[in-house]
């Protein structure tokens, strides 16, 4: 065990924890004020719900001893055997508990990402039930396949900090949500304008800040790889923010603050799978691509007219997919090699993992949404939507004069 690595991973875990309420603010600022608390709550409460689910069974399903490449065994049920030294942990340089809690923070934020898709119309009870099922049936398997020595890992798929596990999985679920739940009342007839963009920028800032924990921390050691991941993360976010506002400027004549914040997040998403496998200059290209592709996807959404309220598919789906592919193109360090460095097979592996992730996560999420819809119900009533979710789901209001 190494104290420096332990210090680093613990602080990184704290940073990743901070991302989830940060996401709540990022999303919360973009909805109408009558839904601000419900939106924030859908992120915040997952710090409670998913953390407990993770300790109880999620961790062992993801990181217990591999069963046929599919799922972890139940050795670590109730964190049994997860202790203060490295015994049983996938890495030997930090306490097993540190590894477990660091992974916990990823499990928390992933379903929180989905909430952007059904913002302003989801019932709170249905949301809790869906998320519980999703953690065990979608997230834990995905995490196992990629990071828990499951079949994707065995196949050689590269996903440094969660392009597939975190971003594509949540975006696929988001897409399923829009299919099952339909549009917000009034969509297309009335404007849905963000009620508090300073809050959204604050959220984006917390996300960027926390993402250093997410990506650099994924090196699981305070070494040169961590430094590299830190740098690639920052530069990709920077490049994507610029790319997004450049596209905006070309498209409608002005750069926007929301665009800068959205672009930064798009860049952070895109670099996530690649952060530890690429060097800084390719990271800038990945960021530029993230900004451009996600911007175009969001524009396209408006054309298609499906109501992914806060663009989970456009940002996390497109960004995560691009990042996974780009990893197959630009990988050059940390024992990984991409197409541009002479290894075309990596690209095929990446494409296969992308396809498998989308297919599995979309299908499974669709089934879960339909199941919950059919039983306890997903969608707030028209009247509840009119009054706002803060009042109708939580008996609260966000602001008083």
């Amino acid at each position: 065990m190494n104290a420096a690595d332990t210090a680093f991973v613990l602080i990184c875990a704290a940073l990743v924890m901070f991302m989830t309420p940060g996401l709540g603010l990022f999303y919360g600022g973009m909805v109408r004020s009558k839904n601000v608390l419900a939106t924030i709550m859908q992120s915040f409460i997952l710090l409670g719900l998913v953390s407990i689910l993770w300790a109880v069974a999620g961790y062992t399903l993801a990181f217990g001893k591999d069963i046929g490449g599919i799922i972890g065994n139940l050795d670590f049920l109730f964190l049994n055997g997860v202790g203060m030294d490295a015994t049983g942990a996938p890495v030997s340089n930090i306490p097993h508990l540190a590894f477990m809690i660091y992974q916990c923070m990823f499990a928390v934020i992933t379903p929180a990402l989905i909430t952007g898709a059904f913002a302003e119309r989801m019932r709170f009870g249905g949301f809790l039930v869906f998320t519980t099922l999703w953690i065990f049936l979608v997230y834990a398997p995905m995490a196992h396949w990629v990071w828990g020595k499951g079949w994707m890992a065995q196949m050689g798929a590269l996903d440094f900090a969660g392009g597939a596990v975190v971003h594509m999985s949540s975006a696929a679920a988001a897409l399923a949500a829009t299919v099952v739940m339909g549009k917000r009342k009034g969509y297309g007839h009335m404007p849905f304008i963000p009620h508090n963009l300073p809050m959204t920028v604050l959220g984006a800032a917390i996300l960027w800040f926390g993402w250093f924990g997410f990506n650099a921390g994924s090196a699981l050691a305070a070494d040169g790889f961590a430094a590299n991941a830190f740098v690639t993360t920052h530069l990709a976010a920077a490049a994507a923010a610029l790319a997004w506002i450049f596209m905006e400027w070309r498209h409608s004549g002005k750069a926007t603050t929301l665009g800068a914040a959205s672009g930064a997040v798009a860049g952070l998403v895109a670099i996530t799978p690649a952060a530890g496998f690429v060097t800084p200059m390719p990271a800038i290209l990945i960021g530029l691509g993230g900004g451009v592709f996600c911007f175009l996807a969001v524009i396209l959404k408006n054309k298609f007219g499906y109501d992914d309220s806060l663009d989970v598919v456009g940002v996390h789906g497109v960004g995560g997919t691009w990042g996974a592919i780009a990893t197959g193109l630009f990988a050059s360090i940390n024992k990984a090699t991409g197409l541009f460095y002479g290894n075309p097979s990596q690209l095929w592996i990446q494409l296969a993992s992308v396809a498998a992730t989308w297919a599995f996560c979309f299908t499974a999420s669709l089934i879960l949404f339909k199941l919950v819809d059919a039983t306890i119900g997903l969608r707030a009533s028209a009247d509840e939507e009119d009054r706002g979710l803060d009042l109708s789901q939580h008996n609260e209001t966000g602001y008083q004069a």
Binding site: M190, D386, L391, E396
Partner: protein, 112 residues
């Protein structure tokens, strides 16, 4: 000249504006108000304490028009705002003795 005051549901504002524009109304002034009426309010809970909030957010639209157009305005607004549920709101008609357009100093019908 009359001032027609329409107090109704917030989310009907766009429809009313459209309805009034259709009959040629070119100006109006809007404010956010809170209404108390038959519709009743709602319950809010903060740390276990329950509060009955009687006021509902409403929008007030003020349109000053020539006497002859009052009936049209009322008809258009009613059509746009009616849901048939309690809380649709009220229209009040108030006399206006003079109107001035600040920019030009025009008064009367020319100023609206």
């Amino acid at each position: 000249m009359k001032k027609v005051e329409i107090i109704t549901r917030t989310f009907k504002l766009d429809d009313i504006k459209a309805g009034l524009s259709e009959i040629g109304i070119k100006g109006m002034t809007v404010s956010e108000v809170k209404g108390f009426g038959r519709q009743g309010g709602h319950k809010e809970v903060y740390r276990g304490a329950e509060y009955q909030v009687d006021f509902v957010v409403k929008v007030k639209i003020e349109v000053v028009v020539e006497d002859a157009r009052v009936a049209d305005v009322i008809a258009a607004a009613t059509k746009a705002a009616r849901t048939g549920q309690v809380g649709d709101g009220k229209i009040f008609v108030i006399p206006v003795e003079e109107v001035v357009r600040i920019r030009t100093g025009e008064t009367g019908d020319a100023a609206v």
